[in-house]
């Protein structure tokens, strides 16, 4: 059978659809004669539906696209981007639509620009954006066994990845559209409308009912500023992952005061998934996906750093140990390296000590600045005495070598 069809009946609609051929390109199947029923939309989130709609359009199936757009806004009446796309599709019945929101009357330029950005980000994430199964997130060098999940915020692509950690394997569970600070990332100080870059943890849950409307269904606070931020003098607080107010399904990509905002559906899902105090959330604009081999190399580097440190502590080689710390180093109490090390010395008079490091995690900050954050339990055994402390170290690459820039005992 030929790949095109003649219309057998006069129906304006059919013809109008065909007019569309001119703007959509692609092959010239006669537009949606029998529009397929939009498949059950129950499980498709709005973004998937949006992608589906665009696929229909690229296949010249205007009617199917229309139906799906209708269904989308019926199901998510606050999904503004859905309305925008639906508006375009309505116009496509009669005229060429060159770009998203082509016929939006002037006066809402900023809002329109926001929606366009959101669309770009969402559509891009759908296909080319998703990391391949074979690749691993470089940031998650090694998770602790009992950390079941990790979140990675890709600020460049307005995306939040939720990884599952099971049997020492990480696996992408889902990814979400997120909004970030109006001025992007690299938070430095209070009120700068930026989202911080770094390795953080979800440290709480605030249910929506206790919060103002703008936080939507709730919030998951982060531990910004972390030790490294403090060393750097970064200020500000109250960086949360939270939901959206009732009047809108999602917010523009760059629209928050520094928080990471997801839709309420997504927030609910994340709230059910994360573990307070355990789940890390890594934020940055250099989220990379690499091969298993690359991961292993990176992990080797990271674990050698901690191993060197352990050895120096064990052998009480202060010179060598101190050399592992950066001149920039400062403790939380604003102490320098020597003070800090003195304070952490255990039974200085002992002849021989044994230092063990266990339950280690390594995360690589997904940013230009190369920082590895390691968490581990340090156990010192001196004869019959044992002392265990949970440590967090921030290693930054300075020139060719890695140095500890911040350290704390948890």
């Amino acid at each position: 059978m030929s790949h095109f069809r003649f219309s057998r009946r006069w129906r304006a609609g059919g013809v109008l659809c065909a007019v569309l051929l001119s703007l959509l390109g692609g092959e010239a199947s006669h537009a949606a004669k029998k529009p397929q029923r939009a498949q059950a939309v129950r499980n498709a989130n709005p973004e998937e539906q949006l992608t589906d709609i665009y696929q229909e359009l690229s296949r010249n199936r205007l009617r199917a696209a229309q139906q799906k757009a209708d269904a989308l806004v019926a199901e998510y009446p606050n999904f503004r981007l859905g309305h925008l796309v639906r508006g375009d599709i309505l116009l496509m019945h009669t005229r060429a639509v060159g770009m998203l929101g082509a016929a939006v009357p002037p006066g809402s330029d900023a809002k329109l620009a926001d929606l366009r950005r959101e669309a770009a980000v969402r559509l891009q994430a759908a296909e080319p954006g998703r990391p391949s199964e074979a690749l691993l997130p470089r940031a998650l060098l090694q998770m602790r066994k009992d950390q079941k999940h990790a979140l990675i915020v890709d600020a460049k692509n307005s995306r939040l990845y939720l990884y599952e950690n099971r049997n020492d394997q990480v696996r992408l569970l889902q990814d979400f559209y997120v909004s970030q600070g109006k001025l992007g990332i690299n938070k430095l100080k209070e009120g700068d409308m930026r989202t911080p870059v770094g390795v953080y943890y979800i440290i709480g849950h605030l249910p929506g009912v206790k919060l103002p409307d703008m936080y939507g269904k709730g919030a998951l606070p982060l531990d910004y500023p972390n030790d490294w931020d403090k060393v750097q003098g970064r200020s500000g607080s109250g960086i949360w992952v939270h939901g959206t107010p009732p009047e809108t399904f999602s917010r523009p990509p760059l629209s928050t005061d520094g928080c990471v905002v997801v839709s309420n559906d997504d927030l609910n899902f994340l709230t059910r998934t994360v573990e307070i105090g355990k789940t890390p959330i890594l934020i940055g604009d250099q989220v990379e996906f690499v091969s298993k081999e690359q991961m292993e190399r990176d992990l080797r580097v990271a674990s050698e750093l901690v191993e060197n440190w352990r050895r120096d502590v064990e052998s009480r080689d202060d010179t060598s140990l101190k050399a592992l710390y950066s001149p920039r180093f400062k403790s939380a109490a604003d102490e320098d390296v020597s003070t800090w090390l003195d304070k952490n010395r255990f039974l200085p008079g002992a002849k021989k000590i044994v230092v063990k490091v266990s339950d280690t995690s390594y995360f690589r900050q997904p940013s230009h600045e190369e920082v590895i954050v390691s968490n581990f339990t340090q156990q010192i055994v001196v004869g019959k005495f044992r002392h265990a402390v949970r440590k967090k170290q921030y290693w930054a690459k300075e020139g060719k070598s890695w140095k500890i820039v911040a350290e704390s005992n948890v």
Binding site: R8, A12, L16, G87, V104
Partner: protein
């Protein structure tokens, strides 16, 4: 030139499981042949069907229905160029049949020539003013819905009260669908399309009558296109350029039917079916531009130049048009003097042009001193506002479509379909200008929109 068979009524039917659109001719003999071809197609024997069609065409080369069939079959056989040839020829010979245009468009589209496909489809729509109006109205509805959708997208709230509707009411039945509704019939005729239509062939207005058996059957609801009753030849000038090649007053036969209009006449239809010779605001535009010979003369209808509301479609026209549209002009009672009308129209066109060119001084110059600005504004306020509006746009395009002119002494009234397009907005509306003659020059005294 072309028409051999006087009695050709075409209607659409489903052939072969409904893949193929085709026009079936009602003359029994041919119906048989057609049925044979249909059977072959249904049986998947396309080349046999094609042979049969060729045989038939050898005898009656002009037969439009068979030619159409041949085009369809060639297309089925993946011979688009040949099929295009056939359909192109058909559109030349039967300008008011939408089907060949449609199929032609499909073939163009298959080649990736979307622009030409678009233009061709627009021609298909233009074969019938009612389609055209419906199409435009549909476009307006889509536009309105889109604007609502945009409002929601931008969270503008619903503060925009519905603007006065631009939708156009059809005030008469088109003259191109020259017949009464064909009842459903033998083959499963698609309800919406069951319009019988005359083959408009050149000079002789063919008799339409021959609608097969059961005309009696009441029309299905909503069958707008079929309802037409052509205006009696009485008021020729009014029926401004009917669409291409339509034998102006579709004759006799149609008349007696105050067609089955009655029951579910859809909202759109305002005027009753009574064949009022009224100045039908027949939508199809005799594009006003190429004036001097003003549109009205029903004669020059043929090569409908791109009608107003559509985007300029330069390309396509090249393709087929010139051929042989037998514009044999039935000597109509020549309308005596059209010079005043011409002058009025020229002014209206000049006005639109100045507007489009954003030449505000010139534009304002078309308004008479007696012009009454809307909303009781002073002339000054009004003209400042106009200036700001017009100069503020990136570009403007204004088209005057299907103008109807009534001249009464020193007053003239022009009603037309205005297509306004700027970088921000596209709007179509009906517009009425009242002009008065001042010192030999026609100027606008009143401007109003809406139907």
């Amino acid at each position: 030139m072309k028409i051999k068979t006087a009695q050709t009524t075409l209607y659409r039917a489903l052939v072969s499981a409904g893949i193929v659109a085709t026009i079936v001719i009602t003359a029994p003999a041919r119906a048989d042949e057609m049925a044979d071809v249909g059977k072959l197609v249904k049986a998947g024997k396309v080349s046999e069907a094609l042979n049969k069609t060729n045989e038939y065409l050898a005898k009656r080369p002009a037969d439009p229905q068979m030619r159409f069939m041949k085009g369809v079959l060639l297309a089925e056989q993946n011979k688009p160029e040949e099929a295009i040839g056939i359909f192109t020829k058909l559109t030349e010979d039967y300008k008011d049949l939408p089907e060949p245009y449609n199929n032609l468009a499909v073939l163009y589209a298959a080649k990736g020539d979307y622009e030409r496909a678009r233009v061709t489809l627009e021609k298909a729509i233009r074969t019938n003013p009612s389609y055209m109006t419906a199409y435009e109205n549909l476009g307006d509805i889509y536009g309105k819905m889109a604007s609502q959708a945009y409002d929601k997208a931008l969270a503008l709230g619903s503060n925009s009260a519905p603007v006065a509707s631009k939708l156009t009411l059809l005030r008469s039945f088109s003259s191109s669908t020259g017949a009464k509704p064909v009842a459903q019939e033998v083959v499963a005729v698609v309800p919406a399309s069951a319009s019988a239509r005359p083959v408009a062939a050149g000079a002789q207005p063919p008799l339409i009558s021959a609608i097969p058996p059961n005309t009696s059957q009441p029309s299905a609801p909503q069958r707008i296109p079929a309802l037409s009753v052509s205006p009696p030849p009485a008021a020729p000038p009014k029926v401004a350029a009917a669409p291409a090649g339509v034998p102006t007053p579709a004759p006799v036969v149609a008349k007696p039917t105050p067609a089955p209009v009655s029951p579910p006449a859809p909202v759109k239809i305002a005027a009753a079916p009574t064949p009022t010779p009224a100045p039908a605001p027949v939508k199809i535009a005799a594009a006003p531009a190429p004036l001097p010979t003003p549109a009205p003369a029903p004669v020059k209808a043929a090569p409908t130049p791109v009608a107003a509301p559509f985007k300029p479609a330069p390309v396509a026209v090249a393709q087929a048009e010139p051929a042989k549209p037998a514009k044999v002009e039935p000597p109509k009672p020549a309308k005596p003097d059209t010079s005043e009308r011409d002058a009025v129209l020229a002014q209206v066109n000049g006005w639109a042009k100045a507007w489009g060119a954003q030449n505000v001084d010139s534009y304002l110059g078309y308004y008479s001193q007696q012009f009454e600005p809307p909303k009781g504004q002073s002339r000054k306020v009004w003209s400042d506002e106009r200036r700001a509006r017009i100069e503020g746009k990136g570009h403007i395009r204004v088209e005057v479509g299907a103008p109807e002119v009534t001249v009464n002494g020193n007053t003239a009234k022009v009603t037309f379909r205005q297509t306004y397009e700027s970088d921000r907005l596209t709007a179509r509306s009906r517009k009425t200008l009242v002009l008065i003659k001042n010192g030999g020059k026609w100027q606008i005294k009143q401007e109003s929109s809406g139907s």
